[in-house]
Structures are given as C-alpha cells and as structure tokens.
Symmetry: D2
Subunit: 335 residues, 4 copies
C-alpha cells in the first residue's frame, strides 16, 4: 500500500496515520522525495482501504501488490515526465533520441559529436568518462577532467549530458557536470550506488542487468525512488542468451511490459542491444514501434576508429538518417 501524504500533513495527523497502519500489522517507511511525501506500507492482513483513505493528512491511498511499490503504475495517475530544463523532456509526447560516442576521447571528438547532434536536433549527448571494462588492462575512460570538457562544450550549445557513474564516491565530483547519471548493466544491482543516487536531485537512468529480470530492474529503481529521488528512467539494453550471432539479445518485449508495470519512462539501447553497427537503425525503429519513450545510440564521426565499442558505433550520417526515420515512424504511429 502507498499512502500519499498531504504536503501540509501535520505531525499529529502523521502519528494518527502511522498508528492506524501499525494497527493492521503493516510495516511502513516514510519516503520524502523532491516531489512528494509517501508512506510505503508492507504487510499481509486484509483491511478496508477506505478507512485509511479517510484519515486527515492523506491525499490518496492505493493498494500495490507488486514487490516494487513507488515505481509501480498502480498508484500514480499518469506517467512520469522528466524535465531536464530548456524544454528537454523525457517521457512526454516526443520520442527522445540520445546519442554520442561510447567514450569521451577529447575536445575534437566532443566538438564533432555536438555538431552532429545539433544537425539532427538531438538535445542529449551520451559519452563515458568512467568505463566499466571486463579486463583491468583495457582503457578505462579519461575521467573527471574529460567530463569537465564534455560539460563545457555541451553547455555552450544547450546540450544535456548523460554519463555513467560507477561508484557512490564519484557522485559528488561528477554532480555539477551531469544531467543524467547512468547506472550501467554491471551495476544494475549495486545497491549502495542506487542508495546513494536516491539522495541526489538529478535524473538517473538504470540499465537492466546483463541477465537481469524485469522485476529486478523495477526493484533497482525502487531503491532510487525510496532513497528520495523520483527522477528515474529505465533502460532495456539487451540480455544475455545462448545466441552468438550478435552481442546481446535486445528484449523488446520488455518495453511494453515495463510501460504497463511502471509509470517511469522507458528507454531502449539498440547499440548494446544488438552490438552490430549495420543493424542499429532497424533495432532503433523497432524500439520506437514497441513503444519506447526514447533511444540511446552510440555514434562517432569515424565509427571504425572509436576508442571503445567500435563494432556497434554508427556514423554521424547514419545518425541523421536514423532520426529522420524515427520521426516518420512516430508520426505514423500517432495518427
């Protein structure tokens, strides 16, 4: 059960509410976010929800039987729209395209990427400065200084930044330069990191684990929400299966299912989801047709020379074609 508390819920009302919750043998946790004040209540006994809803200090109350609570679609009227400022919104009327290189390499590459994004009308740039790598001997990103460069150029052109954070100790340093903190697939159940991002007032995009379940992804999002941060997007990026003809199996079934189960925006990552350059465009279109609120795509001026994940990176020319097709598709589906 989720109880939405009135903004002006008095201390006295609050106590009466929690006493009632305890009286039906439910445990509760108060969650205060940027936008609301909630009591998440967990228990098993039967009770009359109206007798709780009628208490003073409560704006609304809903049963939520899912293991995740605050990220469930069951209590929230309407879908979450995330506003990054400057008219950049995720989860609203328009499908959002985020693009950029796998790794930030340096000023020239940032410039060329920003230029390509502007040409396509893309307003959010991706790019890693901390890179999780299977091998300790691989390139691990250019770090905070790179992020500052990235930020400087993007801000000049009104472009928002999404980039991966790998551990909670990085958050503070990264904070001024980031619009969306990305949690990578390998950290999808790094609960300490999720806890820490719950305390931040910036948007978080959580990628599904390498073979994470849909339920686990939603529970990871619940960590962030219950930590106090409602600004969350979910990202499908492919799961690991037996098939070896491509890198991951992009699970587009997850798109309509996540949108049904949760009120959060759902993003698709076709670049990692198939891992082969020439198939990124069709899988982007398929993502949009399946109902994704946005896509995140790896692009580079000279894709074959990209410092990391070159195999799945598309060219800026293809990015432009992609955006054109996404817009055509979007408008066909609306009518």
């Amino acid at each position: 059960m989720i109880i939405q508390l009135d903004k002006q819920c008095s201390q006295e009302s609050y106590q009466r509410i929690t006493q009632r919750v305890e009286s039906i043998d439910y445990q509760f946790k108060r969650i205060q976010t940027q936008y609301g004040d909630y009591l998440v209540c967990i228990g098993k006994s039967e009770f009359d929800i109206r007798s709780i809803g009628a208490l003073p200090g409560i704006s609304d109350v809903h049963r939520v039987s899912d293991q995740y609570k605050l990220v469930s679609a069951k209590w929230k009227v309407g879908r979450t729209v995330i506003d990054l400022g400057d008219n950049v919104r995720i989860g609203g009327d328009e499908v959002v395209v985020m693009a950029g290189p796998c790794s930030i390499e340096g000023p020239d590459q940032i410039e060329s990427s920003v230029k390509a994004l502007l040409k396509c009308g893309i307003k959010i740039m991706r790019g890693g400065v901390y890179k999780p790598r299977s091998s300790p001997y691989s390139f691990r990103g250019i770090g905070l200084e790179g992020l500052k460069e990235f930020y400087k150029t993007c801000r000049e052109h009104g472009i928002k930044i999404i980039t991966e954070v790998m551990q909670s100790s990085q958050i503070e340093d990264m904070y001024p330069y980031v619009d969306v903190f990305q949690v990578g697939a390998r950290n999808s159940q790094n609960f300490n990191l999720l806890d820490a991002l719950g305390e931040v007032d910036k948007t978080v995009m959580i990628k599904r684990g390498i073979s994470g379940s849909i339920n686990e992804l939603l529970q990871s999002a619940e960590y962030v929400f219950s930590g106090g941060n409602e600004r969350i997007m979910l990202c499908e990026r492919g799961i690991r299966t037996h098939e070896t003809a491509y890198r991951n199996t992009l699970d587009l079934n997850a798109i309509p299912i996540l949108k049904k189960k949760s009120h959060l925006p759902v993003i698709s990552d076709p670049s990692h989801g198939i891992g082969i350059r020439e198939f990124v465009v069709p899988m982007s279109l398929a993502s949009v047709a399946a109902g994704a609120d946005g896509i995140i795509v790896e692009a580079h001026e000279r894709p074959h020379e990209a410092l990391s994940d070159a195999a799945q990176t598309i060219s800026h020319e293809d990015l432009e074609v992609l955006v054109g097709k996404v817009r055509a598709l979007e408008s066909a589906l609306k009518n």
Copy 2:
C-alpha cells in the same frame, strides 16, 4: 561453393564439372529444385574460382563459406519472393499479415475467422489441426477432417492456408488442402520431416527452435532446399530465456540478421513471441519496423474462449486495428 548449372547442361559438361570439383578435393551434391539445378560443393582447399566458372554448363558460381549454402544470401541475386497464386506474395513489396485461431475448432469458427480476415484484407489464414502439446492429455487438434472444412471455406473466399505438419506421414493426406506447411518450433530440427518437405512442391515455413540458434534455423532450411524445395520462409517466434514476465523472448535482432544472411523471406510471430494478448500489437509493429517480411498472429472472435492458447489470442477488432497500424508504419518506412 555453389555452382548454378545451366538448364541445358549436358551430361558431358556435367561430368567435366564434377571432375574439376573432385580435382580440388571438394565433395559435391547435386540439388535439383522446382527452379534450379545446383552443385553444392564442400571442401577446404584454395582454388581459382574463375577456372571453374569458365566451364561450359555453368551459369554462375559463388563462394559460400557459411555452414548453410543454398539458403545463404551470398550466391543469390535478389531476395526470394514466394508466390502462392492469386496475387498472394511473401517477401515482395508488401508486408504480409497472416492471422487466424491457434486451433481450428469447427465450421462456425472458421466462418467468423474468414469474415474477419476479409474485412482486414488478409489473404492467408493460420489455424492448427494437428497440435503439438507438452502433455499427452491435452487437446491435440481436430485433424484431417477439420483441415478439409478449413480448406473448403477458405477456398470459397480466396484465402490461402498455413497449418502445421507434425510428421512426414501426414504430408500426403494434408497436401491437397494446404498452401504453406508450417514446421513448429519443437520440430525445427526434426530432420526426417525437413527431408520429406524438401520433396514437396509447396511452401514451407520453418519456425526457429525453442532455443534454436539463427545458424540452426538456416541449416534446417538448408535441409528443405537441398531436398529440392526452394519455397521456404523463416519464422522468428521467440526464444526461451530466464525472463518469466512473458512466455517467450521475441528475438527481433534475428529479423535483420536473418535477412542479411539469407535470401529467404523472414516472418515474425509476435503471438508466441510474447504470449500476452495486450502486447501483441506493439510487438507486431516492432517486428515490421525491424524489417520483417510478414507477421503471423493468433486471432479469434471471442479470444478468451479460444480452445487453445487463449492467453495470447487477440480479438478480431484488435486485428483490424493492428493491420491499419502495420500499413501506416509500412508506408512511413518506405518514404
């Protein structure tokens, strides 16, 4: 290596060709289909392909390093278009929609289905009369008499029939009443059945195995082609993964990859691919956006009462909506 023989290749030329092939230590198999005469040659040594191509009796010759040969895109100019007659084509300019109930139940249901298909402009009806079932105690289909009913009504209205064949001994009886023989996921590597379908001059649609690889699906198709039958479509119907939020994981990555690897038409089965009624429409659209040549969908007048696979069967009303959206999408993608 695939050698396409001239239709008038003389016995003498043929002998010279096979001697040359043997001289480079390749094994060969002659394949004669409805449409062509091929020598599939398998070996490892290096050789000058031009010296073979120049021999009399040969119309073309191509290296094909894949494990599958005749179904590979490497030797064939253009894509395979299957003509079922009466202007019904698969793999051509238009996305094909096939629809109908999971199981044929009887005359009334056939009538209502045909009526719904005609309303949507659908020209191929699906419906099982032999049903593979995990449990021996489940309904196994109404059999040949049901197929005859199915045929009678469809023919009256110019509708083509696709239905599952489960073993080679059924082929002869089913033959007069079937336009496309469907090989189910559980029979995807039933090599005796595939061999037998290679000898039939009717179209075959092979579903990918329950956790079949893309490579295995292509090799299963190779069985049919090398048996003498070029009229083959490939069907992605979802693979088995760890995820339990839906029935199967529809692997749309497979669509553009199969179209790249093979010249055969590629069909998507979103009904089995997600297994949940309310998500069949978005997954159909995603299939088309990914590049599928067609989709095959389970539909029923009263979906909740369908005799089998009720959970994934959509209503005739939703089918009509679906076809409308598919056409809109198709036209958006063409421009």
Copy 3:
C-alpha cells in the same frame, strides 16, 4: 488422480468406477501397459478419495497434482527398475555404465569397442546408426545394415544395445536389434515418435531437450507411459546456456530433482553435457555423486579419429579408469 485397477477388474466394476469418476467431473483415460492397468483422471473438483478407493476392482488410488501423472513418484511405491535380461538392470543397486562410440562405423570398430567394454565389465553399448545432424551435408550414420552388424557382435558377447531412433517409421525395422531405443534431445518433444514408442515393449531412454525443462522431460515420458510402455529412463545431457567455454551446461541439479519427482531411473550423459574429452571423467563422477542411476559415455579406440563427435569421445584406457573410479565412488557413498 491415478487409479490402479485390479488385474481382475470386471467389466461391471470398471463401469462403476468410471461412473464415479465422471460424477465428480473428472475426465479419465484408461492406460494398459506391460505391467499394469491404470485410470488417469484429470479434473479440479474436491472429493473424498477414500470413497473411490473403496470401490471393487481398484488396487490403489493416489492424488497426483503434477501435470505428468504416471511417471510421477507420487503414486508408485518404490522406484522403477528396468530389467534388460541376462542380469542387466537399470535403476537397481548398481550404477550402470553405458559406453561406446558416437557413431557405429563398421565391424572393426564394433569389435574393438565390445572388447573394451568387456574388459571394464560394461554390459550396455551405445552407438548411433541414424545420426541427427544440424547440416544436411554431414554424415548421417550407416543405417540399418550397420545396426545388424552391431547387434550380431554384441549378442555374441552378451552386450545389450542402446541406439537412437529418429522417427516412428524406423521402429519396426530396428525392433529386433535394439534393447533400448534412445530419443535424442532434438526429438525430445517429437510427440508422434513418443506416441509410437508407447506401443513398443522395449525400453526407451528420453533425453532432455536442448533447452528443455525438467517438467517437459517428464511430460515427454508421460507420452510413452500413457501409450502403454512403462520401461522408460530419463537422461540429462546438458542444456543450452550463454556459456561458451564448453558445448552444453550439464545440469546436475536435474539429477536429484528428477529422482524426487519421478520413479523412473535417471541417467547422465557427461559426454554431451560438457563436450570436452578431458573433462568427461570428472563430470561422470559428479553425476554419480549427484545420484544418477547410470551414465552414458562416448568412447572410441582412437578417439581423435572418431567419425563423429570426436571432441568429446574418450579413449578405451580412460574408460577403464572411469569405471574404476565410479565403482570406488559408489562404494564410498553407500557406506
């Protein structure tokens, strides 16, 4: 519910029983096997089982809530022991080792295999004469004539034969020369084949599907039992997962679980289960420690030269070592 009928159940008693079953809204199917006469009853209503058990003509009655019925451990007292004659038993006190080449190649190879088996005290020889192959261009086995040779040599030395049957039309020809019909992983849900083997009075070993579930394997066995044949063994042979360091993932969890769920003997196939020669011995031992009633192993005089599946075939010397270790393990576990 499974009702075991008395051998002398009169027609009158039988009618009274089936009327009672119908009166509680259960559907029933009578199954007559080599060993018993059963009524498998399927339904959902509540009823007093004693009121049925008390009817004349019934020797015992049990509730079986599993989807599989006759192969369930819930109704049968004790485990199934299969007697192949000449003191060769499967599922009894001793772990059974079955061994031999992947494919039967010819008289010399049969001779050398039989000699190796006799040296180790192995009484069941495996060897394929019909080989399911992913590619139509691969070696498909030497067929019935090979089986006759195989049979002749084995019979001279008191060795029993297990070999794969690929389709129901082969059963009649193979019947005189086979002690155990093996159903391969790719045919694990070939329901027509399973139906046909239900009508045969010879032992059947069913391999789990390539990514078959435990529940599906048991239901496949139910096909054979409900067809009239109780002589069934189940075989774990590895499932398909994401891991590429070996051929299949031998799922030894399945061993104790199958033995709990079913009364049938459970065999492990470590050769296919790992697919790498040098690891077949440890995985054989692990299978026995997990509780397998037997193992089936590929062995060849010159393993590197074996005509098929050379990568997983062990030498006759290693087979001897293996059997010694299995016996040591067995005796350690008994004390």
Copy 4:
C-alpha cells in the same frame, strides 16, 4: 606474456627489460603483490621469447594468450594454496568445507553455529552482515557491530571468517574482523570494488556473476591480482537459466574448466547453486567429485527460521552428515 622479475631486479635491469618489451611493440604494466613482482605485457607481434628470458633481472617468462594473464595457469608452476594461518589452507590436499548461516543474526545464533562447526571439524565460518537484497524494503544485515560479535566468538574457537563486502568504503572498517572478503554474484563485475580489494592483503573469494561467463570471472580475479593481491579463490554459485524447478543452475562444468584455466582454488556453493534444502547434500558431493577445492554451505540450527534464504539452509545435523560423506568421497577419489 608474463615476465616474473627477480626479487633483486635492479633499476637498470628493469629499464633494459621494459625497453626490450617496448621494442617489440608490447604495452606493459608492472604488478607488485605480496608474493611477487610481475610485468604483464600485452601486444600482438611475433618475437623470440628466449631473447627476453635471457635478460638479467628476470626469473621466468611465459606466453599467456588468454585475456586474463596473472590468474592463468599458463605461467605458474603448481597451484595456488591459500594459507589462512593456524593450519587452515585452501587449495591444498584437503577439500575445505565452509559453513554457517546466510545472515548473522546475533550472539546466540553465532554460538550455536560455531558449536556445530567445531563438531564437524569445520574451520571457516560464513555469515553475512551486509546483505545485498533485490528489494530496498528487505532486511539488509546487522552490519559492523554484528561482524565484531561474529569475530569475537570465532576467534575464541580458532574459526576463520568469510563474509561479504559490498563496496570499497566498507573495507577499512571490516578489515580487522575478516579472514576472507567475499565478493557476491551481483558485485562480480563491480570493478571499483575489485580494484580496492587488490590493495588489501587478505584473501578474496569472487563469486561468478548471475549469468557471468567463466572468462569474466577470471578477468574479475585478474583485477584483484593486478591490483597487488594474489590471495584469490573463485566460486561457482549457479547461473541463471530458463529452468524454474530450482533457484539457479549449479554449473559444475565450470569446476574442472576453471581448474584447468587458472591456478587459483575453486570453490562451489551448492546452497545458492540449487537453492533447495533437501538437494544441497547431493550437489555438495557432486561438486567434490567434479574436483572442487572446497564448498561453502548455508547451515542454521533451526533452518526454517533462518532470517534469510531459509529455503536453501540445511540443519546442523545434515551438515554433519554432509561432512562425513565429503570425507568418504575424498578418500575414495584419492585412491
């Protein structure tokens, strides 16, 4: 290539070595651990390894083509044996049994566990004080104070402690009370945590990821080793597959393969690997038969009341039976 440097390798010799490495276009990284001084060299060109081995300052040099280097079996003579002091060794002659509750609950439970371990001759106790949980609302462990209690009681009785660390900021506080830091499956690719554990002079046990590959597990171990810490054990704990009859699929294939690929000790976790109490004993025995250097098992005085993972926790009585059988098996396999 791994170059083992002499302990007295002079600065001059070192420079000559690195110049030679650079001259063949290899990149190198110097790794100094508790036990050795290594140059890990990565490159692609061909060269004469003897010309490098002959340089002063080098004790040995080996080609290692694997992606992981220092944890590979290719350069190290003999297997790694980890000495925890007081005659407790892992990877030596005796199979190590580690046992204890899933979560540390309090003094009484610690006492009863220690008593049970002493009775069985078990010298390493497991128990979580920081628990990774899918849901933010679940019990997350009793934390550092619990660890101190855990330590106090264990030290009194000469029992070593293995417990999970979830993030690098916990290491310093936990350090005095821990003998083996466990990295859980969800943190198997938490590279910052692995880096930090590389700087610690205590043993680390890394669990395979939820659907981690064998190669990834070895690369995660490479992080720790290349950070400066050679005291590493690898742990197979089951992978995620399609099968739902149990919690995870214990992948015993991984045991002999990890032992072949790496010189590190290999542990099996049958409790998580099957997740069902009654099957933990057979899967423990199977692990030992497959060649595991040790097993780690969840046990509790009243298993049904265990605060976490009750379903897979065995009783102290069963633990004693288990240890007896492991010893019997071990001795049977040695002879």
